[in-house]
């Protein structure tokens, strides 16, 4: 119900229609398409072997869609932006499915919510879907391999997802609009402009991701075992 009350036009990081020159827009599509295709293949494979994870995929799709168009005000900056949600999706259903989910969410937002553009959809999929999902997934797996608990690893994943997404957006924007201006100083300027908003929002996304992982661990440890998020032993201990 709280989500319903949150409905408000979002102002956020997706690159709007017409901002990127056509060759760059096409280039980012070319980068995004293979990952989306791999996501479709992974969905088909999962559907063939285990239908019981369908509600989990549905939940993640809704979470990514809602989170990525939910504006959150940042008082210190006087601006608002949104978390990505692809970190939690990558942890629970894998980075390839997370990319597919974010591509669908971004397409709906670009078509009906004036949120991101159709021509810039490829760039938005690369930043939020591809980089966000893999950054979150690697951070989670890396932290777990180093012996971190689920909560801490989830927090690191959310943080990495958010900051990596905005860093990629900065690179995409700078490479597309720079003209004759030097590339690195422009990237630095855009990153610095994002910092007051995204620094606290990254921490918030980390906390949200940790909370969601821990909640699912409490409610459905068997699902986390099946998705290889935790080991069989950890699942048995909890149950």
């Amino acid at each position: 119900m709280a989500w319903l009350a949150c409905a408000a036009p979002a102002h956020a990081m997706h690159i709007a229609e017409g901002i990127l020159p056509l060759p760059w827009a096409v280039g980012w599509f070319a980068v995004a398409v293979p990952f989306v295709a791999l996501g479709v293949r992974r969905l088909n494979a999962l559907g063939r072997e285990d239908l019981s994870i369908k509600p989990l995929i549905g939940l993640m799709a809704a979470v990514v869609f809602i989170i990525s168009c939910m504006p959150i005000p940042v008082p210190t900056a006087g601006t608002c932006s949104h978390p990505c949600g692809t970190g939690i999706a990558a942890i629970l259903v894998g980075p390839l499915l997370s990319i597919l989910i974010s591509a669908v969410a971004l397409l709906i937002q670009a078509l009906f919510l004036a949120h991101g553009g159709l021509s810039t959809l490829g760039a938005d999929i690369v930043s939020m879907g591809v980089v966000g999902s893999f950054a979150g997934w690697f951070a989670f797996r890396g932290m777990r391999a180093m012996g971190a608990g689920l909560g801490l690893a989830g927090f690191a994943a959310g943080l990495a997802t958010d900051w990596a997404t905005y860093l990629t957006t900065s690179v995409e924007l700078a490479s597309g609009i720079r003209g004759d201006a030097p590339f690195l100083p422009l990237v630095g300027r855009i990153v610095l402009a994002f910092v007051p908003t995204q620094l606290p929002l990254g921490l918030l996304e980390g906390a949200m991701t940790a909370g969601m992982v821990l909640l699912l661990y409490r409610k459905r440890p068997d699902l986390l075992v099946r998705m290889k998020v935790i080991s069989q032993q950890e699942g048995v201990v909890h149950a």
Partner: protein, 97 residues
């Protein structure tokens, strides 16, 4: 846990939580300007300085309160899907056990 100790813990929790919440709400009112999105404040601003302007979306819902309505609809559908999926996930667990 003895009842008195439990009540003291709840009291202390409220003593910390309530002022924190109140201060958070107050803090939000101190924002230097209306909540401009980073798309406007950063992306479109810097793109504009380099001669790239955002063009209107293909389906322009940014007219009057239409965009607000579309967001409400999207929030309702998304909230329903999330709630339904969560319920299925949790009820499956109950069925299994």
């Amino acid at each position: 846990m003895p009842d008195r100790k439990r009540r003291l813990k709840i009291f202390l929790l409220h003593l910390v939580l309530l002022p924190t919440l109140l201060y958070t709400f107050y803090f939000f009112t101190l924002g230097p300007k209306p909540w401009t999105g980073v798309d406007e404040a950063v992306v479109e601003k810097i793109a504009g300085e380099h001669g790239r302007e955002a063009s209107p979306p293909l389906i322009n819902t940014d007219q009057g309160d239409l965009l607000l309505f579309v967001f409400l609809l999207a929030g309702a559908v998304g909230g329903f899907v999330a709630g339904y999926s969560w319920r299925k996930l949790v009820s499956e667990k109950r069925r299994d056990s």
